[in-house]
Symmetry: C2
Subunit: 262 residues, 2 copies
C-alpha cells in the first residue's frame, strides 16, 4: 500500500480505545482514525434499530478518510450492525470485536465459561450462539452487567466500589466457571480487579485476539511511527484521564470534537 | 382554557416520569405529553452545547401539540438549556425542576446541606449558586454521583448494591449535613434506601415542590381524568418496570416510539 495503511475505528465512546491501544502495540507506520460517539454513549442500552442507525453514521464518517479497514470496536455495534455495515460499504474490509474473542475461547476449550456484556450485546445472544457452535459440550453462562461501563467511565476501576459491583454480578459464578469473556471494550480496564476477586479465572477480551488476527497486515511498514487522529461527537469529562489510563498520548496527531446534527 | 390544559414534559429518559407522577397526583382533566429521549440518555455526562441542542429538539417536538406549559423535567437540561428554550419559544410558559427545589430548601433553612446530581448538573454549579443566594450563611456541599442513574435504570433501587453505591458517595457527609437535595429526577426512586442509610437527613427533590407551585393551575378542570401520551426516541428495556415502579399505568392513552434523524 503506497501511502501506508489507513484504519478507521469506531466505538460508542471511549471503550474502543482499549482496542486501539492493542493495535498500536503491534503496528508500525499505520494511520488510525478513531471516532467515539460520546454524544450518544452508551449504545449498550439501546434498541437494535437505533444501534444500527448510529453505527452506519459512524462508518460513513470514517469512510471519508479512504480507509483500507474499518474496525467496529464496540461489542454492541458488532452484535447488531456488522452485517448492515458490510452491506452498505461493500468495498471495505470490516472487522468486529466479537469473532476474534470467540475464536480465542474456541482455542482455549474451557468446559465452563461465563460471558458478560451490555444488556444489548447479551440480549442479542451472539456470543453464546457462536461459542456454542465451537464448544457444543461446554456450559456457557451469560449475564448483562450494565453498571460496569459507567463505573469505568468514572475511572473507578480499582476501587472498593468496583469490587462491590463486580461481586454483585459475578460472585454466583465463582465456582461455576473457569473462564470469563469480557464482551465489552470498556471491561479490560477492570481486569486487574476481576483477577483480584476471582484469581482462578482465565480472562479473555477482544482487543488482544483482534490485534493478533490483524498483525500480519499491521507490521508491513516498519520503522515508521503510527499516527492517530481522534474524533469525538461530544467533549467528555473523562477523556483526558481515560487516555492517560490506557497510555495513548504520544501517538496522537490531532483531536477534534465534531458537531453532528446541526 | 376551553379544551383543557395541555402540558408537555421532557426528560433525557425515564427519570422525568417521577415528576409526571407527582403532577398526576394533584391534577385533573389535564392532557400530558411526555417525551423521553431514551435514544440519547443520559444527558448528565454530556457537554453544555450538546445538552442545549438535544433539549431544543425535545421542546420543538412537544410544541407541536399546542401545549400551554412546557416542563423541563431533567435537571441537566434545566441547568443548561432553560434560558435558550425560553428564548426560542417566547409564547410558551417554561418551567424547570431546579428553582422549585431551591425555593423548598430556602423555606426549610438548613444550616448544612448537600446536593447530589449528574456530573453536568453539578459542574454547572447552579444549585449551589442559587441556594447560596437564599442561605448565604449555610454550609453547602455538592457532589456528582454518576452511577446513580444507571443504578435506577437497572431497577436496583432497594438492593444491597444500591446501599454500597450510596455509601461510597455519601458516607463522608454522614455527620456533615442535615438535608440532602436530590438534583436529578431519577433519584427519588432511591429515597427509601437513602433514608435507611441516613435516617437523620431531610430529603428534598424537585417533583413535589414543582407540583405544589403548579397546583393552582392544575386542578382547574375537576371531575375529569388526566390523560397521558408517552413518546420515547428509543425502546428502553426498562420502560415497563419503570412505569410499574412509579405507578403510572391507567392514565396512559398512548405510547409511541419515535424514529428521529432518519
Amino acid at each position: 500500500m503506497a501511502g501506508g495503511l489507513k484504519i478507521g475505528i469506531f466505538d460508542s465512546g471511549l471503550g474502543g480505545l482499549t482496542v486501539l491501544r492493542e493495535l498500536l502495540n503491534v503496528s508500525q507506520g499505520v494511520e488510525y482514525y478513531y471516532l467515539g460517539d460520546t454524544a450518544r454513549v452508551p449504545y449498550g442500552i439501546r434498541s437494535k434499530r437505533t444501534v444500527i442507525k448510529y453505527s452506519l453514521q459512524c462508518a460513513q464518517f470514517l469512510n471519508k478518510f479512504e480507509i483500507d479497514l474499518l474496525i467496529v470496536a464496540c461489542n454492541t455495534a458488532s452484535a447488531h450492525a456488522l452485517e448492515t455495515i458490510k452491506k452498505n460499504f461493500p468495498h471495505l474490509r470490516v472487522e468486529g470485536v466479537i469473532l476474534p474473542a470467540v475464536l480465542e475461547v474456541a482455542n482455549l476449550k474451557p468446559s465452563r465459561l461465563g460471558i458478560i456484556g451490555t444488556p444489548s450485546t447479551i440480549g442479542s445472544g451472539i456470543y453464546k450462539k457462536l461459542i456454542g457452535r465451537f464448544l457444543p459440550n461446554s456450559k456457557i453462562l451469560q449475564k448483562a452487567t450494565p453498571l460496569l461501563v459507567p463505573l469505568v467511565e468514572e475511572g473507578l476501576n480499582e476501587t472498593p466500589l468496583a469490587e462491590e459491583v463486580l461481586k454483585h454480578y459475578l460472585s454466583e459464578w465463582k465456582n461455576q466457571i473457569d473462564l470469563l469473556v469480557l464482551g465489552c471494550t470498556h471491561y479490560p480496564l477492570l481486569k486487574k480487579t476481576i483477577k483480584k476477586l476471582f484469581p482462578r479465572w482465565e480472562i479473555v477480551n477482544s482487543a488482544r485476539p483482534l490485534a493478533n488476527v490483524l498483525k500480519p497486515l499491521l507490521d508491513s511498514d516498519k520503522d515508521k511511527p503510527n499516527r492517530v487522529s481522534l474524533f469525538f461527537t461530544d467533549r467528555s469529562a473523562f477523556l483526558e484521564s481515560f487516555l492517560t489510563n490506557i497510555g495513548i498520548k504520544e501517538e496522537i496527531e490531532g483531536l477534534e470534537i465534531l458537531n453532528w446534527e446541526e
